[in-house]
């Protein structure tokens, strides 16, 4: 009998990808341009999607991606292999820059209000991301399924925080939820996602 075959194969594939990513970063440290191009080709499209979701402007998203990958080239030592995967580090870098940009901008409030409206009125918007592509293979489907598996109230705060760049206080203000509830829902949702995506109970 094949014990848990899907999970096992999935885990092996992800490990191989991760091993190759780490090798690429190591080569970037040695100033290998082809390794940099490979890393860029592999992750820049996902990075742009993330940045554009947060800043909602394509040209700003491209700037963020460019700055983030320039930072990777200039300081590949910023990646600590003991702290996790290359792709999470890269996306964390992009996310941090995008959120910083959004919060610096004067127009943030207006944009954030739109974001709340978007998420509330167009649950199908994120649901599109989550549901429509579920039958596609690969990591995207895994992450979308994990998000879809969350209770609505947990998914909402996580999506507002991560994909719309809102802080916990902004979410509390715009949803009318107590700050403590925003934090506790975030924790519960992230615990579930951590199990589903990283395989860590705690």
């Amino acid at each position: 009998m094949d014990a848990c075959p899907t999970l096992t194969r999935g885990a092996v594939v992800i490990d191989l990808i991760e091993a190759h990513d780490k090798e690429l970063v190591e080569r970037v440290r040695r100033r290998d341009e082809e390794a940099f191009r490979s890393l860029f080709a592999r992750y820049a499209p996902a990075a742009k999607a993330l940045a554009q979701r947060i800043v909602r402007q394509a040209h700003l998203a491209e700037e963020i991606v460019q700055e983030a990958f320039l930072a990777v080239w200039k300081n590949p030592g910023g990646y600590d292999g003991e702290r996790g995967s290359v792709r999470s580090w890269l996306m964390g870098t992009v996310h941090h820059r995008a959120v910083d940009l959004v919060r610096r901008e004067e127009a943030h409030r207006r944009r954030a209000e739109h974001a709340v409206v978007d998420v509330r009125e167009e649950q199908a918007d994120h649901a599109d991301d989550v549901a429509v592509e579920l039958d596609r293979p690969g990591e995207g489907a895994l992450v979308r399924a994990a998000l879809k598996g969350l209770p609505d109230e947990q998914r909402e705060v996580i999506e507002l925080m991560y994909f719309s760049g809102l802080s916990q206080s902004q979410i509390a203000e715009r949803t009318g939820l107590p700050l403590g509830t925003v934090k506790s829902r975030t924790l519960l949702g992230m615990r579930r996602l951590r199990v589903a995506l990283v395989g860590v109970e705690r």
Binding site: E33, F36, R37, F40, A41, A44, P45, A46, A47, K48, A49, L50, E62, Q66, F69, L70, W73, K74, R83, G84, S85, R87, S88, L90, M91, G92, V94, H95, H96, V99, D129, E133, E139, G140, V143, R144, L147, I158, M161, Y162, F163, G165, L166, S167, Q168, S169, Q170, I171, K183, S184, T186, L187, M190, R191, L193, R194, L197, V198, V200, R202
Partner: protein, 227 residues
């Protein structure tokens, strides 16, 4: 006061998503400092950071300007100039490769000139020659500005994968226009495309599904700028 790990876990979860603000930011920093080299704190932080980083992949990837990687490297090298001999090696290497491709291409043009009547284009008279760079092997185009017809030649190209093909794009003002799909045979490619480069500033090749999509879905593996 030292928080227990459940409360630290809550603040780390919010921080990993970029949502921590106000007093909680300072509280978390202070408590982490007080916990010192706390293995449980480290595991909680890394676990949530890993999880948050994966969320980005829930989104559909978006095409990126195919020249961006080159721009990043140019900017970086501009600031930290490589050694002179390194630059010279790069230039000569590129020229050696271009000349090798050009020599082979001339042979190809001569060989396929007999196709003139079939395709309606005088292959020998093609005026421009473009070497595409980026991926393994050699890939080049020949065409005449303002006229239809692009000859594509490739050697030692990587297999695009089962069910995949190479797709040639002409980028005009950042907009990609498909020029056609190509399937190498044992790494070799010799094809005529009934397409016109027009006002394109950049030619690029991506790996696409055999359906040959109307817009690129992956980052180019070969690019060449048109003078």
């Amino acid at each position: 006061m030292t928080l227990d790990h459940t409360l630290i876990e809550e603040l780390l979860a919010v921080r990993s998503l970029g949502g921590l603000d106000g007093e909680d930011l300072e509280t978390l920093e202070r408590e982490l400092t007080e916990h010192g080299a706390c293995e449980e704190c480290r595991q909680l932080r890394d676990g949530f950071d890993q999880t948050a980083g994966r969320l980005a992949f829930a989104l559909e990837p978006l095409p990126v300007d195919p020249t961006m990687a080159n721009r990043i490297l140019s900017e970086a090298w501009g600031r930290e100039a490589p050694a002179v001999d390194e630059l010279a090696e790069r230039r000569t290497g590129r020229w050696r490769r271009a000349l090798a491709v050009a020599a082979s291409f001339v042979v190809l043009i001569a060989g396929v000139a007999v196709l003139r009547d079939t395709v309606g284009v005088d292959l020998v008279a093609l005026q421009r020659f473009l070497v595409l760079e980026g991926g393994e092997g050699s890939l080049a185009l020949a065409y005449t500005p303002g006229e239809r017809g692009i000859v594509v030649w490739g050697q030692d190209l990587p297999d695009p994968g089962a069910g995949n093909v190479y797709e040639l794009w002409a980028f005009a003002d950042g907009t990609p226009i498909s020029q056609g799909c190509l399937e190498p045979s044992n790494g070799n490619l010799a094809a005529f495309l009934n397409a016109e480069i027009g006002d394109a500033q950049l030619m690029a090749v991506t790996v696409e599904s055999a359906a040959c999509p109307d817009s690129p879905t992956t980052v180019p593996v070969y690019t060449g700028e048109l003078v």
